[in-house]
Symmetry: C2
Subunit: 211 residues, 2 copies
């Protein structure tokens, strides 16, 4: 597990998304050529990456989607279940709590925190909003391992410090700043812009093709 | 322009994010080694990719961040400016309209559409909410080229059809379904899950390293 190169591990979430999609479409088998074509990689990259994973059941049709999904769920820590706390009950925070895609993948928002007094003790989709001062206690009781930051940029570092104090192990950061955390805490910055740039680029290519 | 391989073009938005970040941090020069290290690619991949772009000003310190950013802005269609319409004024839609990162990169939300009568003629951060029936007229007048879909999945295809009718050229889709559109329309699906999976994976690796 610990010896998977970063370049390989960065592709595992993409494989997982693709396999889940294919399984939902009713596909029981996928080949490395199919994955390569869908994700714009080479088949040999796929086959090399798979060598780092547990054994995936395969046949002459390719890899079993069910087996592939289960192996990836183990590798990605999805099967274990992950409890999350979200700080910042603005529109982005609410959108994430509303989002239906987490729970089916083993991620559950267990608590929301905000500094606005009028939100305390209300709930968002059944998830209670707490005072920031209750973080240590709630994180411990609900066995929360992941913190989501959806505050403005100028509050994010302070919130990250509180999460670190509460022994949260991973931070999913939506605020547009680079957080400073101790080396035992993992930070992943979420960013929608690359996907928008990619759209603009493809549109430009299409426009120039038509000329 | 039209001959850039898909594998190369998929990396350009990542280069752009990195260069903008470095420029904001005050860096005037970046080397292919620095980019490679930050983005987990090889320096030769970076140098190969750059051959597809316009000439970037460079010195013995590396590439000029300013020149690199400008070349990428041209390649990605960012410098031209892109007007956008958003359909679905729920929490995610509002979060995107609130988001400050678009305008500085040349993307502007010019109109919001929703089917809820009580929202029509209100505004979100100064952007007016319109009836869906006004889409053709508003898209034409505001020279909108990109449509953002933040509706529930079961409404998304119908909204995409309306966007196609209104001659929108690119759709940034946040609804969890695959849209069917004519070949002259570009669709980019936005998805936050890979970033969350990546966090969970890194946390798992860190936990197993400590054992």
């Amino acid at each position: 597990m610990i010896n998977i190169p970063a370049a390989v591990s960065s592709r595992l979430p993409l494989y997982y998304e693709y396999i889940v999609h294919m399984e939902e479409q009713g596909s029981r088998w996928v080949s490395s050529n199919m994955i390569a074509s869908a994700l714009d990689l080479t088949p040999s990259t796929i086959r090399q990456d798979i060598k780092y994973l547990d054994k995936i059941y395969s046949s002459s049709f390719g890899y079993s989607t069910q087996s592939f999904r289960q192996v990836l769920e183990d590798a990605l820590g999805i099967s274990a279940g992950n409890n999350m706390a979200l700080v910042g009950a603005g529109s982005l925070g609410r959108a994430l709590v509303h989002y239906k895609g987490f729970a089916s993948k083993g991620f559950t928002v267990k608590a929301v925190f905000d500094k606005r007094e009028d939100l305390i003790d209300t709930d968002i989709d059944g998830v209670k909003v707490w005072q920031l001062g209750r973080m240590n206690e709630v994180v411990k009781r609900e066995r929360i391992t992941i913190g989501i930051i959806t505050t403005p940029a100028d509050a994010a570092q302070q919130v990250a410090n509180m999460m670190v104090d509460a022994k949260i192990q991973g931070i999913w950061n939506f605020a547009p700043i680079n957080l400073r955390v101790p080396p035992n805490v993992t930070v992943e910055n979420a960013n929608v812009m690359p996907s928008l740039f990619s759209l603009a680029f493809k549109m430009k290519v299409m426009a120039s093709t038509k000329k």
